[in-house]
């Protein structure tokens, strides 16, 4: 019979896997997209809590954006997260969302240090209503941020998953976020009704990131990885 090793739970700890969801809550997401996002986020949180590995390692942030950005969950251990209720408002000011992302990453920089690569997820259904230069400027700042952009030692930090729902968003917007070919994934959802399906895929991707494995590309019906 194999020897059983007993180590008290407090003696061990897992490296953090920061997951940051940036969700478009513009009025065009109402009602189907918002309902789907609420359902998907609820299921995602529950699943992450059920899995021992992710329960002990994932820290979740949820930022919504429209004309403003709102931080609904601020870098919280997944085990203590209650699913927020998203509601629709305003336009698709992507630059606002990216400002929120950058502020959050900067605020928690010390906690990112020494952890596993963060997973950044953008979910949107339309082209930005802000000036293109504005969101690209913010993206450039993100690309310069150590823990979510270029590393000082070379290469890129973090994984990026860019999900576009429906026909109203150009691939070029999503593609602009791609950094490292192996660590970024652009996903087209047939329509907003597929957003909760996307969250099922996100569960798999989170486990991939926690295990430092390449991102899985098998996605359910109505979704397609385009890179």
């Amino acid at each position: 019979m194999a020897l059983t090793i007993v180590i008290p739970p407090e003696a061990t700890s897992r490296k953090q896997v920061p997951v940051i969801l940036l969700v478009d809550v513009s009025t065009s997401m109402d009602p189907v997209g918002i309902a789907q996002a609420n359902q998907g986020i609820r299921d995602y949180i529950e699943e992450m809590k059920r899995n021992e590995e992710t329960r002990e390692s994932v820290t979740l942030s949820i930022i919504t954006f429209s004309n403003v950005h709102r931080v609904l969950v601020d870098h919280q251990p997944i085990d203590s997260v209650t699913a927020p209720q998203l509601s629709a408002e305003g336009g698709t000011e992507l630059d606002e969302g990216l400002k929120g992302l950058l502020t959050l990453v900067t605020r928690h920089e010390a906690k990112f240090k020494g952890g596993k690569e963060p997973l950044f997820v953008l979910i949107t259904d339309g082209n930005p209503t802000c000036d293109e230069q504005q969101w690209r400027d913010q993206l450039r700042k993100i690309n310069d941020a150590t823990y979510i952009g270029k590393r000082r030692s070379g290469g890129w930090s973090g994984y990026r998953v860019l999900a576009g729902a429906g026909e109203q968003i150009n691939d070029s917007v999503l593609e602009a976020f791609r950094h490292d070919k192996e660590k970024s994934q652009v996903i087209r959802l047939k329509d907003q009704a597929n957003i909760s399906e996307f969250f099922k895929h996100l569960k798999t991707l989170t486990v991939d990131v926690a295990n430092e494995k390449p991102l899985s590309k098998i996605v359910s019906t109505g979704t397609q990885v385009i890179n």
Partner: protein, 287 residues
Amino acid sequence: MNGSPTGESRFRRGPDVLRYKVDGNRVTIVRFCWKGKAHLDVGTECQDWADIYPPSLTDSETSVDKLTIVVADGVSTQPLSGIGARLACDSIGRTLQALKEPNKPLPACLADAQADFVAMCLKDRKSGSPEKSPASPESTSVVEYATTALVLHLGQSGFWAATVGDGAIYAISEAGQRARTLTELRREGLVNEVRPFTSPQWEIGLAVSGQSAEPLGTVNGFCLMTDGFSESIGDPNAYFATVWPELRTRLNNPADLLEYAEAFCRYWEDRKFSDDDKTLLGVFIER
């Protein structure tokens, strides 16, 4: 028992027990380097290496006036990185052994060892050896060679520790009930970031326990671990209170030690703490 699908042992080193007498103190060292799942899956060797200087060629006690224990994980590109780790250990171990205490400060001596090693890598690179191997993205040239290096030096003045990159050295007291880290962890960024071995990066990543040796005081042991183990330690006191006595009771029983070391490495892997190679050296001191 051996955990490999092919039936091969996953231990690159040990588990073995080495016995010394250093300045009147009885020093018993348990050592093992185990191939992690990440390397098992791709069919490559364990990249960790651990050595003790001077080497002991006997099962009985070897009397020395100073002892240097060195651990390194992979240096250079696969499949040569395990050899690189061995050479890194050798550079560091031999240089510290040649030290005439207290003529030169220990950190300066370690810097000499590193400079020698980098010079050797550069020479090796010019001859083309590392470039014959398939380059992995994280280390395509000597300026990007990275390693975790752990050094514990025991001598007449006490002990001295140094680390580069990940991994940890703990001083153990009260028979495993108390543990403290001897050097701070100098991370550059995220957990899997490269810590190059060349001069400027070494200076950034190097952490030492002090400018000179510290008396043993109440310390009755040390533990050196590569990041395959150390990164998942939460409360060191709770960890060593469990692990230390288990190791101690097996020092005189090789079969039991092998069984424990295998199960211990597996536990870490089965709980998905780390797929990386795993090295542990437990240093037990009796006065």
